[in-house]
Structures are given as C-alpha cells and as structure tokens.
Assembly symmetry: C2
C-alpha cells in the first residue's frame, strides 16, 4: 500500500473525528455546528496541533490534493442540497431581488474597498486586487447554518441563496476583468469588461435551463431498474455540471446547485434528498474542517493586525449595508433584511484565489496576503455566530 493513501485516510479520520467532537461541544454551548467544525479544523490542522502529530517521520494530518478534493466535493454536495430545496420557479420569481442584492453586494465592497485602500497608500492595482478579494460571498457556510436552524424555506434564505449565486457570478467576472488589466496594464476596457460579465451570465443561464429540461427527463424515465441507479445518475449529473461550471470559470458549486434545483420538482425528490442527506453527513463536516485547517495564523504581526482590522471592517460593513439595505425593498422586513446582510458576510474561495494570484504575481506583499486570509477566516467565523444570535432574538420575541 502506498504511504500516500495511508496519510489521506488518517487525515480524514483525524479531521472528521475532531469536527464531530467540537460539533458536540458547540451544540452544548448553543453555537452552530458549522462553527465547531471550522474551529476543529483550525485546531488539528497542519499549521496548529497537526504540525506536532508526527509518527515515524510522517505528518498524520496533511492537506494533500486528495484530502482537499474530498473537501471540495463537500461544498458541491452542500449546494446540491440547497438547490433541492428551491424550485426553478421560486428562483426565477426571486430573480429581480437576487439580481439587485447580489449586484450591490459586489459593487459595494469593490468600490468602498478600492477607495479606502488607496487612501491607505496602496497603488491602484493593489487596491483593486484587495477589493476584488472582498466581493464574493462563500455561500456554503450560510446555507449550512440556515439548514441547521430549519430556515432554508424562509423568504430571506431564498434571497440569500439567489443573491449569493449572482454575487459569485459577478465576482468571477470582476476577477477576470481585474486580472486582465494586470496582464496588459492598459487600463480598463469597458466594452470587454461588460462582455465578460455577460458571457459568464449567459453561460450560467444556459446551463441552468439545460439542467431544468434535461435532468428530470434523465431520472424520471422508467429505464432505471437496478437499485442505486437513480442515485448514481443524479450524482454523475451534479458532478458533471459542477465540472462544467468550474470549466467556465465559475465556482463548481453553482453547477451542483442548478442540478439540485432541476430535481426539486421531480418524483424522485424524496429519494434523492434522503440519499444526499446521508452523503452530506460526512462531506459537509470535512469541507468545513478542511477550510479551517488551511488557516495559517503564523504570519500575524502588529502591521498585519492593523491592516487586517480595516479589511475586516470593510468586509463586514459593505455586505451588511450593500446587501441588507436593498433587501428591505423586496422583503419589507427589517430583521429579515438584516439576516440577508449578515448571511452574505462570510467570504471564501474567491477571496483566497484572488489573494493567491496577487501573491504569486508579486503585486501583493506577503503581509497583505496574510490579512486577506485572516479576513476570510474571521468572516467565516462571524457569520454563523451572528446569524445564530439574530434567530435567537426572533425566538425570544415569539416566546
């Protein structure tokens, strides 16, 4: 047996065990399970306790590409489950609201970030990169918290998911525009920027329409007689569509969300929901634990702390205001709108990807890179706690 595979399964064992152990602790202190799993990853990860877990010269907790793949599959599974809970009709009905909230949720952090970081002495391109890192919400965390509280069917949850999908699409479009500027250094080509944004939107729409038409036909026919066929075909479908989305340049999770939505009104809905629910029992904790495990706090110093506080402040306020205020127009309810703003705060992969590009191209100093990573970590930790507090407030009013 190759030692590589041994390390992978041992790492999964340690991460999963720690995640469920802290999930239990967090349930008791009435905090979201997701948060426990994130923190568990931070604790046993290779930059913390994991760095001491060495046996016969080999690290017991490693984040190899195989382990990360299992985590990324977790994100795909979580968004597939979220898609199952939303019919295409509901998604389209919420279209205008999602579009407005999602768009403002990208514009606000980008421009506020851009101007504030220029004031802080960053050059234009650096400021633009940091601002881009602030744009995209990491919806998996919010979705998991909403599902934990049984709030996935509420109007604010629908708006959060819809806006997060739009926001992800736009953030990727912004990313491609910004990095193309970096490459050519000839300023912004407005026509091309708009073209990029429309290209990404059109791709997503085409994929969504194709899924809604094709996937129910694929599974509703009488051709599947063997046990497990429906589940297998559905899984192949959402993996394939996730791959397609990733290939366009979107998050793969948008692909699996679309397939989930396409299945939400089919006869096999309950069967698929039961199946994927069980799958999610290990893939979701693995996803959160692996995200936590990637956080490296070793680069923190006083300068990083200072810039970090500014970036975190901008990250929180721009989403809270940028998404929360426009939500008021559609939800006509203050506490629901506030929840939309809060749920959009957590940042994820896109922020890290941008920071990584910035670092490797030499535009961002390692210090700025570290602060972006900290921003991602802090917003990921704040969102579940804050959402929890919001819902508890609501509970008390009802009682």
């Amino acid at each position: 047996m190759e030692s590589h595979f041994i390390q992978v399964i041992i790492s999964v064992c340690v991460l999963l065990f720690a995640a469920k152990l802290l999930a239990e602790v967090f349930v008791r202190i009435k905090l979201p399970i997701v948060l426990g799993e994130l923190v568990a990853g931070m604790i046993v990860g290779p930059f913390a306790i994991g760095s001491f877990l060495i046996f016969q010269g080999e690290h017991l907790v490693v984040l190899t590409s195989e382990v990360k793949t299992l985590g990324e599959i977790g994100a795909i599974v979580i968004l597939f489950m979220a898609g199952l809970e939303m019919t295409p009709k509901e998604f389209i009905k919420g279209g205008k609201a999602s579009l407005t909230v999602g768009t403002l949720g990208v514009i606000a952090p980008f421009f506020v970030g851009f101007f504030i970081f220029q004031i802080f002495g960053f050059d234009a391109f650096q400021a633009m990169l940091v601002a881009t890192a602030l744009t995209a919400t990491s919806v998996a965390i919010s979705v998991q918290v909403l599902s934990e509280f049984g709030k996935l069917k509420t109007p604010e949850a629908r708006l959060i998911i819809g806006a997060a999908v739009i926001d992800d699409i736009l953030a990727i479009a912004v990313l491609s525009v910004v990095t193309s500027i970096g490459g050519t250094n000839t300023g912004i080509d407005v026509t091309e920027s708009i073209f990029t944004i429309f290209k990404v939107l059109a791709f997503f729409a085409a994929m969504a329409i194709a899924a809604v038409f094709l996937v129910p036909r694929m599974v509703n026919s009488k051709m599947w007689k063997a046990s497990g066929s429906i589940e297998g075909i559905v899984t192949a479908a959402f993996f394939g569509t996730a791959g397609l989305a990733a290939w366009i340049g979107l998050s793969p999770i948008l692909g699996s969300f679309v397939v989930g939505m396409a299945l939400s009104t089919t006869k096999v809905f309950e069967r698929v929901e039961q199946y994927i629910g069980k799958l999610g029992l290990i893939f979701a904790p693995l996803f959160f634990a692996i995200i936590g495990a990637q956080v490296d706090f070793r680069g923190i110093n006083s300068e990083v702390m200072l810039i970090g506080i500014v970036i975190i402040g901008v990250a929180i306020t721009t989403k809270l205001v940028g998404c929360g205020v426009p939500s008021l127009l559609f939800l006509k309810n203050k506490s629901q709108s506030r929840r939309v703003g809060i749920a959009m705060i957590s940042r994820g992969e896109v922020g890290l990807i941008v920071a990584g590009i910035g670092l490797s191209s030499g535009v961002l100093l390692p210090n700025i890179y570290t602060t972006i990573v900290i921003m991602v970590a802090v917003t990921s930790l704040i969102t579940p706690i804050w959402l929890k507090l919001e819902y508890r407030k609501d509970q008390k009013i009802i009682e």
Copy 2:
C-alpha cells in the same frame, strides 16, 4: 479553479454515468451489476474510449491519484458493510474453517504456481513472484455479488469472508517474505518468515480485539447529541482503522471490516447500516469502474496470450480446489463448498502490487507483468458470472 479538480469531477461523472448505464444493461441480461460496473470502467477508461475523449487538449477521463483515492474509499466502504453483517461471535465461531480454507487458498496457488512456472522456464525468483501474485483473493467483488443476491448471511458467505480475511493476511506475509528474499538473495530464512507471518496475524488480532471493545463504547455512550455525530464518528473510526491496517502492511479494507464487525451488535447498527448503504451507492460503483478502467489490453500479443492462459488456468484451479475442497470438511455440502471455491477466484490489488514490484525491480519482464494484469481482470470478470450461474442452478432445483 484549478483545472486538476475539474478533471477529477468530470472523470467521476463519466465513470459513474457509464457504470450505472451498464449496470442497467446487465440487470436486464441477468448478469451481476458489479460486472457491468467493471466492464463500464474498461470501456470508458483511459486505455479505451477514454483515450479519445479529449476536450481542449485535456483528457476527460483521467485516473489521477484523487480519482483512485475515491475508488479505494469504495473498497473500504464495501468491506465495512460486510463487517456490519457479521458479528464477532460468528467470525470466531467460523475461525477454524476460515483459517483452514484461507491458508490452503494461499498455499495451493503459491506452490502450484511456483512449480509450474519453473517448468515453463522462469527462474526461481521470477516463479516465486508470479506465484505470490496468485495468492490473494480480492474479496470486494465476491462480497458485492453475495450482497446483490441477498446471500450475505448464508454459511458459505461467512466462510468466504472469513477465509478471504485470513488469505489476505497470509498473502501479505508471503509478499514480505518473498520481497525480502529478492533484496538479500541469501535464500529463505524460515525463522524470519514464520516470524513475519505471526507478526501480521498478531497485529490483526490486536486491532480486531481493540475495535470490538472500543468502538461500541465510543458510539453507545450518551455523549453524541448533534445530528450526524454517530455517523461521523463511525466513519472516522473505520477510516482510521483502515489506515492502521494499511500502515501494518495489510489491505486497508481489513481495518474497516473489523470496525464494521465491532458495530454489528450495537444499538446504532440500523442507523449506521442505513447511512453506509447510501454512501455505498456511489462509492461501490466508483470502485469497480476504476478497477475496470485500469485494465490496459494494449500489451496483448500471442506470447502474452499463451502465458496468460496458463496463469489464468492455475489461478482458477488452485482456488477452486484449494478452497473448495477443504470447505467440504466444514460445510458438508457440495454446492456450498463449490461456491466458496468460486468466490475466492477473483484476484485484486495484491496481485497488481506484486506485479508492480516485480516490474519496477526488473525481475519481471513487461510481458509477464501484462499477463498478471490480464489474470486479475479475467478472474474479476469470471467470479461474478460463475457465482451467478451457481446460484441460479440452486434456484431451479427449488422451483
């Protein structure tokens, strides 16, 4: 998004889709599903149709280490499910029978193979390596077939699983003895060989006893309140034990089997069975499809065919006789004993590992390597068909 991850999820999509499609075809022509999944892998694998599936210069079906890891997790899941169906008592009760059948099932192919290949002009060490490649049964295929036919609780199934466990342990012991001879070239050290065998057996026994005592305590306590905790902890446990088994040098599947067995008499049995059943719905087909996809028929020529027929002949007869005949002593039933012999025919990873070691050390010519791979493929294909025919014969007598 890195293109590597895109390739992984697209590959999983294609493999899973093909596996379920052929599973449907095979159900209709009344052949085992497992066989359909194996053949599907052979068809869409990177050495067959997969080599033509190229998009923008990238292969759509690749067997990266991430894809193979998902397949290997499949084997772990299958054996965990088999373990759940057998209580430790039943395993111990069948101990003498398993030990006899398993031991003879290693001795027969090893010595018959060794002498026949020497007659065919192989030198002693070459003959020994080929003979070692013939020793270990790949129990995942047989277990899946038995489970498909609802025969996992029959006396012959218990004997098959028990003997396959022993056989795997002994085969690994033989492998370490043979490779150590190759390293030193000083002949066989009998004391050391026996010591190796006992070391491996003792490790397995210790792991099994620890699991049977610890795992039920870990999950039966009242400490797990959060949803999904039991499932997560159980999964962490069988991953960890599989890692431990692999680290000793055993197949990781023996570790997960032991944990399954430890859970077979606990209160959480049904909950765990339901959970792992759903997980198996995709991991099992992936395992078989990936095994199929690794078969490369391109090296076949007339010489390979000739040696291949001899090796396959030896592979089949030695297990059929070596396991089938001693089974008669314990089962006192001809058709049950024949099934034990048939179920033990399929060879798997150990054969491929030995062949790989032989090839990379230069002891085995590429031709011989190819014939061993073909032997593994053919025995994997024959076992489910033959078992099916045996059980159908039985059915007709009852009718």
